[in-house]
Structures are given as structure tokens and as C-alpha cells.
């Protein structure tokens, strides 16, 4: 629970020295309570007071950092249960499962799959971020060999090991890559805690039920380890969903800091081999509180909708999703194909480009910078005008790059036609359709 201004005020020197830039200590305390300025602005706060207060003012769900270098990721740190309440901060990540019980051919096949699905969508790299390595109790050497092989794949790692000796041996090999050691439970947590802290890695905690998980986390925190992640995978799908929701909800709504950690949901334990069911569940846990979702694999068929969904859910509701301005040649368009312009709002881009694709007509699709607004909003806000389009044409050197002199503008801004003709002499300005769905018919009937 965030501290009230008065509570903070009691801990200030109450001298009104103004050194923090505020007229009184009371004003300072109020601003700190709102999160407007950091506590450290006051030079007279003792270190112990700062430690005490920052603990109390810290958000209930911690941000946990895992992986190293290119594979460093942040998890958790959420402050709300639903994106419309503010925004969700750290997107969920995905893992592909490997096991020390698999033969080399199977492992190579899975690693090839992980490497294969790696693409960009609206400025975001889409790929399987983690490899989740299961230990099948078939010898430490086998597991260490698996870890070594996995390290070559350039992904962050999760070590699913409950045996401290094996964990230690594996960490010898990979501790610099900052893997997650997912293996503490009610009976082994003391030893596992030692192994994890010595190697400086995040420790994953499991429990037979939420009470046991709660007790183990409490014990680990008492031992000084707050670098944790909670494996909420239960015996059934229903139980796992209940765990994921209750852990997150009790943390954010009841201020239960013991559950203030990111979660792991392991679908390979719930519906191994059922790829479609894993797609369905990955979707559910993307919306409802899975931080890392472990799957048997991630094919393109699964990645395309799942990463798209995740990108949607984790956008900041206050900031529209934008695509980069520029020329997007479609259906094999070259310099002789006509131009069609619209705004950089991602949804507009997807809907319009989809319809242009359906028309199968070569078009140079132009995306102009309109602040990420839709056509009418951008026009009303003055971000889509004859001058902004003329400026875009100049900056991108459209006239130099494209020989065709036809420009189709959105039907909703037909009023701009005259002005654009004045600004872009020599261009034939054509008013397009009001709705994207009419585009294929429009392009088929027209002749530019």
C-alpha cells in the first residue's frame, strides 16, 4: 500500500529548509506520496529512513531481471490487473521445452524451430525468448550436456531442476547467462536458495498448492532472497488458471507482497503434445497473468496470432500503435504503380493493407506520419493535411522514386483534394473509398 503524505511527513526533518525545491516539508511529503518526486530529493533523510520508506512505497509486484546481453529481459512490475486501468508494463514471454530425456536429433529439430520463427512486427522482434530445460533424473552429465547445447542457441534459459547437485553443475556452465533456476519447493528450498544466491541467479519457486507456495516464498524472503519467480503450474488446467489469477490478484488488490513476483506457466505439463490446446491456453495466459509461458514448441502458425495478441494487449492505451512512415510496395508494385496514402495508425495500416492485398493490384502504399491517429482524428487534429502530405513527399522523395503520378487519398478526407493538387502539381489526385472494405472493388474498377 502506498504511504500517505502524512506518514512520510512524520519522517522528514520538518525544518522547511527548502533544499528539496519545495516550500515546506509537508509539500515535499505530499509530492513523494503521489510519486511525483523521489524521496532522495531531501538531503536530510537518513539512509535507514530511505530504506524503510522505499520498501513501503515500492510497487507491490517486483520487476525481476533475467538473462544477460541480448537475452536480458524484464518481467513483472505490473501495477494493474486490466490494461484499461492504466497500462500493462512488461509483456509476457515464451519458452520452448527441451529435456535431458530427448535424443540429439529431437533437440536439434526443436532448436531449429526456435531459430526459424524470428521476425519483426510493427517494430518489435517476435521470437521465442527462452529455452526451458527439463531434467529427467538421468544423470548430471546428460543435463550439463543439454545446457551446453542450449547455450549455443542464443536464448535466455530456464533450468527446471529440483536436485541441488545437478543445479550446481548446470550453473557452473551457464551462470553468466543469468538463467532462471526453477526448482525450489517446500522440501529443498534451503539448499536451492544457496545454489541460486551463490550463482547470482533468479530462483523459481513451486508449491503443491498456493498455501505451500506462500510458505516457501515467505521462508525464502526471510532468508534474504527476493530475486524470485513463481511457478504457478498446478495439477490441472483449471488449477493453474486459478493459481495464476489468485497470485496476481492478491498481490495487486490485497497488497500481498509475498506473491509480488512474476509467474511461470508450464503448458507442457498440462497438455503435452496438444499443439492447438497449447495455442488456446497460451492465449488465455497472455491475458490472464502468465509472465513466462512454456510450450512444446512455437511454430509460425502459433506465433503469428499469439505474438500479435501480446503486442495488442501490452500496448499502452494512452499511446497509439504506430507503423514507420515510408513507401510500402504491395502486390509486386514497382515505380510505375499508382500511390495510395494513409496514416500511420497501426490498425489503419493493417486494415487498409489487408484490403489492398486482397485486390491483388500493384500499389505503392504510402504511410505518412500522422501522430498515430486514425484518418479522421488526424485530419481534425491537423496532423493529416495537404501541407503534411507535401512535406512527406519531399522528405521521402516520392516524386524521384515513383514515376506514376496518381495518388489515391482516403475518401474520408476528400475535402483535401484541391489543396493537395495545389501543393503537388503534376499529380493526379484521386479520392478513394470511405471504408477499407470497398478498396478491392474500387481498385478493380479503376484504371490508373
Amino acid at each position: 500500500m502506498a504511504l500517505k503524505g502524512l506518514d512520510i511527513f512524520k519522517l522528514t526533518p520538518k525544518t522547511n529548509c527548502k533544499e528539496c525545491g519545495n516550500p515546506t516539508c509537508m509539500a515535499f511529503a505530499m509530492k513523494v506520496a503521489q510519486g511525483a518526486i523521489p524521496l532522495e530529493k531531501c538531503p536530510h533523510m537518513g539512509a535507514d529512513v530511505i530504506a524503510k520508506l522505499s520498501e513501503a512505497t515500492a510497487p507491490p509486484m517486483k520487476v525481476i531481471e533475467v538473462g544477460a546481453g541480448n537475452n536480458a529481459h524484464k518481467l513483472g512490475g505490473e501495477t494493474v490487473l486490466f490494461r484499461h486501468e492504466k497500462t500493462l508494463v512488461n509483456k509476457n514471454l515464451f519458452a520452448t521445452k527441451l529435456c535431458s530425456c530427448m535424443d540429439d536429433a529431437k533437440i536439434d529439430e526443436l532448436l531449429a524451430g526456435v531459430k526459424h520463427v524470428d521476425y519483426e512486427r510493427i517494430g518489435e522482434r517476435m521470437y521465442c525468448e527462452f529455452l526451458s530445460l527439463d531434467y529427467a533424473d538421468n544423470g548430471v552429465d546428460k543435463y550439463v550436456a543439454l545446457v551446453k547445447k542450449a547455450m549455443e542457441a542464443d536464448r535466455a534459459l530456464i533450468l527446471n531442476v529440483e536436485c541441488p547437485e545437478c543445479a550446481k553443475a548446470a550453473l557452473e556452465v551457464c551462470k553468466d547467462a543469468k538463467p532462471i533456476l526453477n526448482g525450489a519447493n517446500a522440501s529443498n528450498y534451503e539448499e536451492m536458495n544457496k545454489v541460486a544466491t551463490e550463482a547470482g541467479v533468479v530462483l523459481g519457486v513451486k508449491g503443491a498448492n498456493l498455501s505451500e507456495l506462500f510458505d516457501t516464498v515467505t521462508a525464502l524472503e526471510a532468508a534474504g532472497n527476493k530475486n524470485l519467480i513463481l511457478d504457478v503450474t498446478g495439477a490441472t488446467i483449471k488449477e493453474t488458471f486459478a493459481n495464476a489469477v489468485q497470485v496476481r490478484r492478491s498481490c495487486l488488490k490485497e497488497n500481498n507482497r509475498t506473491f509480488g513476483y512474476p509467474s511461470i506457466v508450464n503448458l507442457t505439463k498440462l497438455c503435452a503434445g496438444d499443439e492447438r490446446m497449447q495455442s488456446a491456453l497460451a492465449s488465455v495466459f497472455t491475458l490472464k497473468y502468465g509472465s513466462i509461458i512454456v510450450m512444446d514448441s512455437m511454430s509460425y502458425a502459433q506465433a503469428l496470432p499469439l505474438y500479435g495478441l501480446r503486442q495488442n494487449i501490452f500496448t499502452d492505451p494512452q499511446k497509439p500503435m504506430k507503423v514507420a512512415p515510408g513507401i510500402y510496395p504491395m502486390n509486386g508494385a514497382d515505380e510505375n504503380a499508382p500511390c495510395m496514402i494513409t496514416v500511420d495508425f497501426a490498425l489503419t495500416y493493417f486494415v487498409v493493407s489487408g484490403e489492398v492485398e486482397r485486390s491483388q493490384k500493384p500499389i505503392n502504399f504510402l504511410i505518412t506520419d500522422a501522430g498515430g491517429y486514425s484518418v479522421l482524428t488526424a485530419w481534425a487534429a491537423g496532423k493529416l493535411s495537404a501541407s503534411s502530405i507535401a512535406k512527406f513527399f519531399e522528405e521521402q522523395d516520392i516524386a524521384g522514386k515513383i514515376k506514376n503520378r496518381t495518388l489515391i487519398i482516403p475518401g474520408k478526407v476528400a475535402v483535401l483534394k484541391g489543396e493537395i493538387e495545389d501543393k503537388l502539381p503534376g499529380w493526379n489526385i484521386v479520392v478513394g473509398t470511405n471504408e477499407a472494405i470497398q478498396i478491392p472493388k474500387f481498385l478493380k474498377d479503376a484504371n490508373f
Binding site: 486490466f82 490494461r83 484499461h84 526459424h116 512486427r121 498456493l210 498455501s211 507456495l213 506462500f214 510458505d215 515467505t218 490441472t236 488446467i237 483449471k238 488458471f241 486459478a242 489469477v245 489468485q246 490478484r249 492478491s250 488488490k253 490485497e254 506473491f259 492447438r276 490446446m277 495455442s279 488456446a280 491456453l281 497460451a282 492465449s283 488465455v284 497472455t286 491475458l287 490472464k288 511454430s299 509460425y300 502458425a301 502459433q302 503469428l304 496470432p305 499469439l306 505474438y307 500479435g308 495478441l309 503486442q311 495488442n312 494487449i313 500496448t315 492505451p317 497501426a346 490498425l347 493493417f350 486494415v351 489487408g354 492485398e357 486482397r358 472493388k441
Partner: protein, 313 residues
């Protein structure tokens, strides 16, 4: 120290709406908790799955769909077949070919098809239009009249045509009305107010809040549903307590990921699998956001989502 869940049970609940008649009759809605929060309270009625059947045939569909309907030559035959699909709770007949810019099938022919379907199967029936406002209003009115007593749902009454559709289907012929708005809580509420003001009982109204395929602005769908359910349950807003029916397949099978051929996108793999996954992921997200029923097309999607519902309930 044991962890104790603080159940979030609301005093308000979603309306229960019944569709169809006889043994196959279904009820949707009725819950007083968030979607699948069975640890708070039992879910009154499990979410239901409808199978979309277009009157335009299956020529353009993927192999799995064609194979399922093999040997079926009419909409009624396909409806009969779809009724056997494992996991199917109702059928959604879509008059795609009625579009005046397309084949322009006449209202009379649509009614004929609707009657044949109703004779061929005892499953609850939902009827979807061709997205042309004037034509849809005529079709819904005529079909609602022809199938009186069958307790069908027409999808949907919109801001432009609700007076005709809601008054005919909902009032005159005693059917269920779907209120369709475009992913906006205020528009949804306004339309519900208008429709109930016409005299249609709110127990005869469901909402189609609009939908989007995963990756195509789904955040608006999720946030609209989150907010609608929050207003209905925690603020007891009677004008948002109608259950939600979401047509998923019409969105997901028309995006690039489901349409692009394997020649164009060799690295993406099987088009059919892509289409199914897009449908499955979007439907699962809709259910997790609060849809009380989803409409799907592919038998494998229906099977998967049916399993998902059973596992979570």
C-alpha cells in the same frame, strides 16, 4: 500460514438468455464472477460454441472444412452435418450471398433456406447477415417471422437498423436480438438503451460488442469487454448485463495470416494450421475477456475451444 483467496463475487449478475427450443435449448450468461473465475463462485452457464455456416458454400474454405461437409450440397445439409460436430452448441447461418454487391440472393430465398435449416436440425439457430444494413434488416425481419416459435437469435441489430430489426424480431415475432456495436462501451450501452426503450425485454437481448482477430486491434475488444463486465457486475449496470456473443471466424479467416497461400509464404507453413490457430487464439482470448458464446468455423477449432471450456470450468 495458509493462503486464503478472497473471492470476488458480485451482487449483480449477467442476464441469462435462452436460445432454441426443446432438448437442444441452451442458456448463456447468468454468471456473477469474471470469466472462468470458478475459484470465486461456480459459473452459472458455461460459454457456448456456435458453428458458422455460410450460404455461399465451402469452395473457398480450407481442406479440413471442405472434407467435413463432403457430400453436403445445401445449407440445410451442411447445418445437419454441423450439428454433429463435437463441441457444437448452436448453428450460425450467415447469408453472405445476400450482399447486393455480390450474388444478391433474394430475401425470399434466404427465408426458404432458413426454413429448410430449421426443419433439418433441432439445434438453436443464430442468423447473420451480409453486412448491408438495408438488406440485413429485410432478411432478419422475414426470417424472424418465418421461424416464429423457434426462439432464434438475429445478429445483429445496429444503430442504423435497430428500429426495424429489434421491433420485428424482438417485439413482433418474439425472437432474440443481438445488439451490435463497434468495440466501444458507450455505444454498446446506448444501443441497449434504445432497443429496450422500443419495448424489447432486456432478457431477450444479447450483445455483439464487435471483434477483431488477434494482432488486429484486439486490445480494443479486450478492454471493451473488461469494462463492460466490470460495469455490469461491480456497478450493477442493467444496460450492460446482456450476455456477449462474439462472431470470431468472420474476422479471423479474412486476415493475412489465415489467407496467405503457402506459395506466397513458404516459411509460414500450412495455411490450414495457421487459420485454425488464428481462430483458436482469438476465440480463447474472447472467452477469457468475457464472451458468453463464440462463433467458429473449423471443426478443429470447435473441438479445441470446447475442450478449453470444459477444462477451465
Amino acid at each position: 500460514m495458509p493462503f486464503t483467496n478472497k473471492p470476488q463475487v458480485f451482487n449483480a449478475k449477467i442476464n441469462t438468455v435462452e436460445l432454441g427450443v426443446g432438448d437442444k435449448k441452451i442458456a448463456i450468461g447468468g454468471e456473477n464472477v469474471l470469466p472462468f473465475y470458478t475459484f470465486d463462485a461456480p459459473i452459472e452457464n458455461l460459454p457456448k460454441i456456435g458453428v458458422e455456416i455460410s450460404d455461399a458454400g465451402v469452395e473457398n474454405e480450407v481442406e479440413g472444412i471442405k472434407a467435413f461437409y463432403e457430400g453436403c450440397n445445401t445449407v440445410a445439409e451442411r447445418a445437419k452435418k454441423a450439428a454433429t460436430m463435437p463441441g457444437a452448441d448452436f448453428l450460425a447461418i450467415r447469408f453472405e450471398s445476400a450482399d447486393p454487391n455480390g450474388e444478391n440472393t433474394s430475401v425470399e430465398d434466404c427465408v426458404k433456406v432458413a426454413k429448410e435449416v430449421a426443419e433439418a436440425t433441432d439445434m438453436p439457430l443464430v442468423f447473420m447477415g451480409c453486412k448491408n444494413v438495408e438488406k440485413d434488416a429485410q432478411i432478419f425481419t422475414a426470417v424472424a417471422d418465418a421461424l416464429q416459435g423457434k426462439n432464434i437469435l438475429v445478429l445483429s441489430a445496429r444503430e442504423e437498423d435497430y428500429k426495424t430489426v429489434a421491433a420485428s424480431a424482438g417485439l413482433a415475432y418474439g425472437q432474440k436480438v443481438g445488439a451490435e456495436s463497434a468495440v466501444d462501451i458507450n455505444l454498446a450501452k446506448q444501443l441497449n438503451v434504445l432497443i429496450t426503450q422500443l419495448g424489447v425485454a432486456s432478457a431477450n437481448v444479447v450483445m455483439n460488442l464487435g471483434s477483431a482477430a488477434a494482432g488486429y486491434g484486439y486490445e480494443y475488444v479486450a478492454s471493451t469487454m473488461d469494462r463492460v463486465k466490470a460495469a455490469a457486475l461491480s456497478q450493477n449496470d442493467a444496460m450492460l448485463q446482456m450476455p456477449v456473443v462474439t462472431p470470431v471466424s468472420t474476422e479471423t479467416w479474412s486476415v493475412k495470416e489465415s489467407m496467405a497461400s503457402e506459395e506466397d509464404m513458404p516459411e509460414w507453413g500450412s495455411r490450414e494450421t495457421r487459420g485454425v490457430d488464428m481462430e483458436v487464439v482469438t476465440a480463447a482470448a474472447c472467452l477469457a475477456s468475457g464472451s458468453n458464446a463464440v462463433i467458429l468455423r473449423h471443426p478443429q477449432s470447435v473441438e479445441t475451444i470446447s475442450k478449453l471450456i470444459k477444462e477451465l470450468a
